[in-house]
């Protein structure tokens, strides 16, 4: 049985302007110890997807479909039962280390909170455990800094503390929602190496969200490319990187800055902008921005086309796209 099985997940958010289809029928499975990357632009539904796994969506959000975690159906699970899973079986690392820690509580208290909550540990025992965790995530001189407040740490250190907090109860699944976006590049590398090491050491599964293709390439074994609330391309990272079959994925790759490119060279862009989730087209969500668009693209959502190595792409013009890609 896979650790996590997401099937035909739909999330509808209530906004001021009406209901928005933030996630439209996505599905994937994750085995124990497996790593999955989700990549896409802002507003494509990456964060909403993982928030629905954690049951952290606003109460007005409607979730349909199935999320099976270790045999338990999470969609429709009571808040009380969900609290048992959060922080205990599933840990989460947040994007903004500067705001993800409460400014009025000490580090020892915040990192120890899940232990006291789920393991029923006494304060002194939790403190010992917190010290071990902080040492593991690489907080220098952790013993003397247990009673320090978040503002006394740097951004990178705070992210390490956030990781310690997510790991406290030894979760089976770690979700990292753009964990390095707010950090500078050298710290980014250290944090990713830390997450990587911990995932291997503890045999956790990892879901890593990023809009940085480099981060995805180095850290996960399989990936989803999301666009307009649906998965447009999925498969093993190596296969997706090698083939880049969907026009949107190609656009993402083309938009990366290249080292050694001549000065003043403009980056490639994808024309148009992300579709409005409130008024999504009925066909392929990328149809309006894609240069391969034909009338059929607007008619229905393309079904996933299987490719070699368990790779799948939702595009009805795949033949033409790949032919052109080969010519390039």
């Amino acid at each position: 049985m896979p650790l996590l099985e997401v099937d035909d997940l739909h999330v509808q958010l209530q906004t001021q302007r009406g209901p928005a289809e933030a996630v439209r029928g996505i599905g994937f499975t994750l085995e124990r110890g497996e790593t999955l990357g989700i990549v896409g632009e802002s507003g494509c539904g990456k964060s909403i997807t993982v928030q629905s796994l954690m049951g952290l969506l606003p109460s007005t959000a409607q979730v349909k479909g199935s999320i099976r975690f270790d045999g338990t159906e999470l969609v429709g699970l009571s808040e009380r039962a969900m609290c048992e899973i959060r922080g205990n079986r599933i840990g989460m690392i947040f994007q903004e280390p500067m705001t993800a820690l409460n400014p009025v509580h000490t580090i020892a208290r915040q990192v120890g909170e899940p232990l006291r909550l789920h393991r029923g540990m006494a304060r002194a025992d939790a403190r010992k455990e917190v010290l071990a965790l902080l040492e593991r995530v690489g907080i220098p001189d952790a013993a003397s800094r247990l009673d320090a407040y978040p503002h006394q740490f740097s951004g990178g250190q705070r992210q390490r503390i956030g990781i310690a907090m997510a790991l406290a109860c030894g979760p089976d699944l770690l979700i990292a929602d753009e964990p390095t976006t707010a950090l500078d590049v050298t710290i980014q590398k250290q944090i990713l190496e830390l997450i990587q090491g911990l995932v291997e050491e503890r045999g956790m599964a990892l879901i890593l969200i990023s809009h940085d293709l480099g981060v995805i390439a180095q850290n996960v074994s399989k990936m989803l490319v999301m666009y307009g609330g649906s998965v447009v391309e999925s498969g093993p990272t190596a296969a997706v990187f090698a083939e880049r079959a969907h026009p949107y994925t190609q656009g993402l790759f083309a938009a990366r800055p290249a080292l050694g490119a001549p000065r003043g060279q403009k980056l490639a862009t994808i024309r148009g902008s992300v579709p409005d989730l409130i008024d999504l087209p009925s066909g392929c969500p990328f149809a309006g921005r894609c240069r391969f668009t034909i009338d059929d693209c607007h008619a229905t959502r393309p079904p996933p086309t299987p490719m070699p190595h368990g790779h799948a792409v939702r595009c009805i013009r795949l033949g033409e796209v790949i032919a052109e890609g080969v010519l390039e």
């Binding site: 840990g91 989460m92 400014p103 009025v104 000490t106 909170e113 899940p114 956030g162």
Partner: protein, 293 residues
Amino acid sequence: MSAVPSTVPSAAAFKVPGFWRRALHHRSFVIGGVLTLLLILAAAISLVWTPWSPYEMNMAHKLKPPTAAHWLGTDTFGRDVASLLLVGARASILVGVIAVGIGLVAGTALGLLAAARRGWVEEAIMRFADFSMAFPAILSAIMMTAVFGAGIVNAIIAIGIYNIPTFARITRASANAIWSREYVAAARACGKGGFAITMQHVLPNISAVLIVQSTIRFAIAILAEAALSYLGLGTQPPQPSWGRMLSEAQTMMFQAPLLAVFPGMAIALAVLGLNLLGDGLRDLLDPRLARAR
């Protein structure tokens, strides 16, 4: 400031960097603090000593102007005005503390509940708050005293109830802002329930707002007590109260105008002091201003 125990939620507010050092350079905080201390001091001194007994009448010396024996003169019954003012401060503080306490506890609880539960609970609480805010304090106090009888206890309860919706609204608005912070999402991701998040994350982070609001409501409660006593609905004779002193002085406006001036000044200074203190605290406890330093 490091001596403040971290278990007290409101203490968190005073951990704003350099709080006391900046406080001593903040003009309205210092003036407001001194005036508020004077109010408390007056009430405290009256417990152990007053120049004369505030209850003792002396018709031979009635309506005397200020003299060495009677610093602020005597009233229609020959009572010493200075002593009456000192003892009257007790009524003001009593009303302020209890009425603000009622509003703070009940209003904050309702506001926190509204922010934590959202949905229809929030709507119900907030519409109820809107509804009760439509009634002026004096009107609801008059209604209460009409039903339960005039007296200081009923006046305090009426003012306290009037404070509840104000605190509920402020709490809900500030708590909603905290609920949208990432550390609350992080706490939820740790498996914490709504109650734990409210007590550990929301309340400590909105304590500054509540402290400031309390000082302002304290001033309003003192005014409301004076108004109710002036109307004969608050403190009952022979207990001295600034509001009652004003109402008794009213009939003597032309013979002894000073009788109205002294309690009026006491009320004005107490309210001014508490408002300045509140303004000062608002500036000093705002972490954004502290960081911008």
